[in-house]
Amino acid sequence: MIRSLLAWLDDRTGYAGFLHEALYERVPGGARWRYVWGSTLVFTFSMQMITGFFLWTAYSPSATTAWESVYYIENVMTFGSVVRGLHHFTAQLMIVLMAIHLVQVIIDGAYKAPREVNFWLGLVLLQIVLGLSLTGYLLPWDQKGYYATQVSTKIMGNAPLIGQQAQELIQGGPQYGHHTLTRFFALHAGLLPASLIAFLGLHLYVFRRHGLTVKDPNHAPETTFWPDQVLKDGIACLAVLLLVLGLAIWKGAELSAPANPSENYAAARPEWYFLFLFRFLKFEFVEHYGLAFGSIYVPGALMAVVAAMPLIGRHVIGHKFNVAFMWSLTLGIGVLTLMAFYEDAGDEDHQAAIQEAHRDAERIKELASGPNRIPVTGAVTLLREDPFTQGPRLFAKHCKGCHRYDGHDGRGRLIYSGAADGSLVRAEATAADLGQFGTAAWMQAVVVDYSKHFAPLKNSEWFKNASGEDVLNPDESEMADWSGDAESLGSEENQENVSALVAFLVSQAGHNTRSGQAVTGDKSVVDRGRTLAVEGDWSGAINGTSCVDCHSTIGESFAAVPDDDSDGYPNLSGYGSSAWLKSFLSKPSAGQHYGEKNQMPGYAKRMTPSEMELLVRWLTGDYVVTKLNPYPFRSMPPVRSVSTE
C-alpha cells in the first residue's frame, strides 16, 4: 500500500532519484571526520532558521518595544531563554565553524580548479553570515548591542564616496531609532536568510557537481554518504547541539540594560569574534592612517587575497603561499584577540564598567518584573527614574569631589589625583564619607566620635588656609567637646543611653532598609532616646546637657526655618530625612544649616529637581527593594599607576 503510494509519488515527482542522488553520493576513501564541517554549518543554519522563526513570533522591532519583548521572551515566556539561548550561541558557533571550514578548505586545496566558483560562493556565504551576526546583535536593543553596532555603522559612514548615504539608509535616518530596528530586522529575518538559502543551494549544488575533495582515496574502501558519512556528520552535529544547549541552559544569552543614548556605555565591545578588528583599530599607526584604512581597506585587502587564492593556487608555490597566508592571518587574529582580552582584564575602568553594566542589567530585571510591569515609554525610563541606579551616578558626578561613599566615588571606583612624578595617588576626601548616611552607624559616629567622623574636613584647602578664622572645625567646637567626653558619654553607664539616642536619631531620619522596610526601632528605646535628646537625662558630667539646648528643633518633623530665624546651630529636626536632606543640599549655607561657616556649594541650581530627588531617595534608601549588592569597594590598584599611596 505505502509502496504503491510512494511509487505513484515517484512517478509524478521523481523524488526517489533525487533522494538517491542526495544520499548515495560517493565518498572515495571512506567516511572521514574531516568532511563534517560543511554539514555542521548546514545544521547550525537550520537551527537558526527554526529558533529564529519562533523568536520572530514574540519579537517586536521598535525602540520602545524591542528590549521589552526580548526581556519578556527571556524571563517570562515558557522556554524563552532556551530558544533565545540556542539562537544566540549557535550564531557564535556558526562563525567558529565557518572559520574551521575555510581553514580546512584551504589546507586541502579544495579551492583549486574546478572548484574556484564554489570557493567564491563560500566567501559570499561568509559575508552573509557576518551580516546576520551584525544585524542580529542590535535587535535586542540593549546597551551592549546598541553601542557596539554604533561603531559598525559609523565605520560604514567612513567608507569612501557613498559612506554617509549608506549609513543613513541602513539606519533609516541620521540617528538610531524605530526605523533602525525595522530595517535591521528586515535584513536579519528577510533578505539575509533568503540570500543565504539561495547561495547555500548553489554552494551545495556545485559541491555535488565536483564531489568531495578527497585527500587520500586509499584511506579506506569507498563508501556512500548514507549512512557512513551521515553518522559522522550526525555525531558532529550532536556535539554542536549539546554545546549550544549547555550554554543556553547554564550560561544563558546576555541581555544588558535597555539602550540609552544619554547613558555612556563604557563597557562597549564588539562580539568576541570581532575583537581582533577592534584591537587592530587601536594601534597608533592604524589610527594615523584614518578609520577607513584600518576598518575598510586593510580587511578588504585581506579578503581580496583570500578571494584570489584559487588564482594564486594555480602556480606551484601558490598553494604553499595560500596556506602560509591563512596561518599567518589566523595567528594575527588570534594574537590580536588575546591582546584585547588581556588588556581588558587588566583595565580597572573597563572592569568597573562591566560590573556596572551587569548591575544595571540585573536591576532592570527587578524593576520590569514588578507589579506595574514596563511603562509604554519603555524600560529605559524605569532605569532613568530609579534612585538605586541613578543615585550612584549622580554622586559620582556631583559629590565625589569632596565626599566618598564607602571609600569610593559611589560607583565603586577609587578616586586618584596626579602626583608630581606623574604617577597616581589616592585623593584624600575633604568631607565625610556618606556611605552610611542616616544609619545607626552614622548617628553613632556623629554622637560619640564627632571629631573623627568629620576629620576629612581637615584635608581641605579652606581648612588648611584658615588661620584663626571661624570655620567648621571637627576638633574644636562645642559639639566636639560634648561628643569627645570619654569619661561621661563614653562611660559604662551611658552605653544604653547612647544606643537609645542613636535609635531615636535613626527613627528621625526614617530611612528604609534594603528589604524596603522603614527603619523604626523599638518604640520604648526610641522614646527613651527622645527624652535624652530633649531633657539630657545622662549619667556623669554631661547630665543635663541635651541636644535641644543647641539644636532647638530636634525631634520635630522637618520644616524649613527662615534664615533670619536661625540660631547659629544646625537645625536637626528630621535630621537625615529626605526633607532635611533636600533643604540642606539646596542651600547648606542657610542659617538653619551651617550658616556662615558653610563651605559646601548649594545644589539647588547645580542639579535639576528630579536629579536631587533621585540622589536624596538613593541616600535615604527610598527605592524599589533590591537583592543586588551595593557597589563594592574596589581595592585593585590601577595598572597604569606607578605607585599608590
Binding site: 514574540a58 515566556m77 522556554f79 574502501p221 550526525g234 514596563i374
Partner: protein, 232 residues
Amino acid sequence: MLDESPQSPETPESVSLEDAVEVRECDTEASVADADAVDASEESVSKSETARRAFLTQVLAGTIGVVVGLVPVLSGLIFFLDPLIRGERQSGDSRDAVGKDAEGYIKLPVTRSLLPSDGTPQQVTVEDDLVDAWNKFPGVPIGSVWLLRSESDEVSAFSTVCPHLGCAVEFRGAQSDFYCPCHLSTFRLDGSKDNPIPPRDMDSLRVKPDTGEEIWVQFKSFRGGISEKVEI
C-alpha cells in the same frame, strides 16, 4: 574488491533521513534476507556481521538525525505554545484600578439617575488596568456595556459584543431594538434574540446590588458563535 556495502544503491526502498526510523526495520529484514539467500554458502558469518554493522550505522545515524532535528523544533514549539501553557489574562486579576472590587465589579463613570428613566439603552465605557504582555496600562478603556434602567429603577447591563461573531451591537432608536450591523442580528431591549441569526440572547452582565447611585458591573467576555454563554 570486497563489497562492503550491502545497502547498495539499488536497494528498492529509498530512505529519507526523516523516515529512517520507520523504514529501517523492513529495510533490514530485506537486506538480511538478501544476504542470507545469496551468500549463505560463502563467508556467511562475516557477511552477516557486516550487515549487522551497517544496520547499526543506519539506526544510529537515523536516530541522531532525528534527535538533533527535534531539539530545536520541540523547544520552539513549546515556546510557541506559551499562551496556552501560561494562560495569562489580559485583565481581571489586577485590582489596582480605582473602583474595582474583589469580585471583579467595576465602577462605571455614570450614576443611576443619569440613565434615562424610559428604558432607553445607554452605552457606557468601562475602564480597567490592561495588561498586555510586558506592558501594563493603568486605568484605560477596555470596552463598553449597554445599560438600561427600568421603571422600577432596576439597572440591567449587556455586553456590547454580539454573541454571533463579535461585532459591536448598536441601539436603533426608530425600531427600539439592538442591532448588529455585521450580520444583521437583532435583539429586543431585554436582550432576547429577535431573529435566528444570533445563536443566543445578548450576554447580560452582573450588576452589583445595593450600590445606591453608583453602578458597578462585572465586565466579562464570552465565546461567540455558540448557543451557550461561556466565559473566556
